[in-house]
């Protein structure tokens, strides 16, 4: 039980880090990188699919509870995209760096598009600014995955398949 609990605690801490004033107050970032999404992706790549599913569900529920409005969109998009990414992963024997990048791009798009469409239906606000938000959001996640890849291959000297 404690062994599995640590994955949820890490997810919780990542949400806390994501909401820190450091990103907006010090770095003045418009978009905050989605560490939780990258973490779920990493769990899937490390063959911890079941844990990834539950962490995805837990994070989605937690983010929805933190949303000022009563909503279910995070639970839906995180859980659905986790299932989708597990499905993609099972189609390949091993993912190389390019495939990993493509997978995280797809993962980010699956998470962000339902959210954008949902907020559009709620408020009828133009999609123009949301497009740039999606673009940079995907880019951020791809950059983080690149850093993780760089760290595991060049710093920890772990070989990729």
């Amino acid at each position: 039980m404690i062994f599995y609990l640590k994955y949820f605690v890490i997810a919780y801490l990542l949400v806390v880090i994501q909401s820190n004033v450091f990103f907006k107050g010090v770095l003045k970032l418009f978009i905050v990188p989605d560490f939780v999404l990258v973490y779920i992706f990493w769990l899937t790549m490390e063959n911890k699919e079941n844990i990834a599913k539950y962490v995805g569900l837990f994070t989605g529920i937690f983010l929805d509870l933190l949303n000022p409005e009563k909503t279910f969109i995070n639970t839906f998009s995180y859980f659905f995209s986790t299932l989708y990414i597990i499905n993609i992963k099972n189609k390949f024997i091993g993912l190389n760096f390019t495939l990993k990048l493509l997978a995280i791009v797809l993962f980010s798009l699956i998470v962000s598009i339902p959210k954008t469409v949902y907020s559009f239906f709620l408020s009828n606000v133009s999609l123009n600014q949301s497009l740039s938000l999606i673009g940079f959001y995907v880019l951020y996640n791809a950059v983080i995955i690149y850093f993780i890849y760089y760290f595991t291959v060049f710093v920890l000297k772990r070989d990729e398949i």
Binding site: Q18, F23, V32, I61, D64, L65, L66, F72, T75, K115
Partner: protein, 263 residues
Amino acid sequence: MDNVKKRLIKLGIFFVSIVVIFVFLFSGKLKNISVDFIGVPSNFIYSIFHRLEEISSFFKDKKSLYQENEKLKKELEILKLENQKVFQLEKENEELRKVLQFKNQYMSAKIIVARVIAFSPDNWVNSFFIDVGSKDGVKEGDFVVAGGYLIGMVKSVGLNSSEVLSVNDENFKITVRTRKTGEICFYSGLGYKKGVLKYVRPEQDIRFSDIVETTILDMNRLEGIPVGIIKKISTKEGEFFKEVEVETFYYPYSLDYVIVVSR
């Protein structure tokens, strides 16, 4: 037959879990508790950052002073440290003066000074967390003001922290009035530093550069707090209502102290 039974049980479990998740998501109490889950660690991290900032500024000063003349070293160090302290105090003084000015202006209202400790982890939501909660008397629906302007409304209240929906968020909706002409309109957030007045009829007197402010019509809240300035008025062909764009004063990158105006 057994297979059908198993499938039915699985289907039952699936529907029960969906119902449980929905009960979780739509219960107000859990929402308020979750605010504290972010608020408490964020407050802790914020105080550590603050302390680190103080220590780093101290060491920076020390390093630069080593390059100075040995005789002036001690004196300079003290002076520079004092100078920095004065600068910090001046900044804080300015912020508190604004708070006081606001307090004098709205004597009748109950005012709580709060600090911004975190922002929404979701990029699609424009909200932030403050370090005061129900223990300090904050209630759902209270206005939040910074620099004399309305920047948000309290949405969820935890014990020690609260979540504030900013005026830029698409879900922020209040009744407002224009300062010069007194026209009552419906305000909604639109995006970064932007809001919009909805359902403005053609005969309504809406003027460019007029200030949009809160009105008493909006659930007995404090009236006269500026929300934004009208920046664009246009009419679309074939549409009955006018399009009115408002520039708001919510700037998340320099938020420190805010005021909660309690009802």
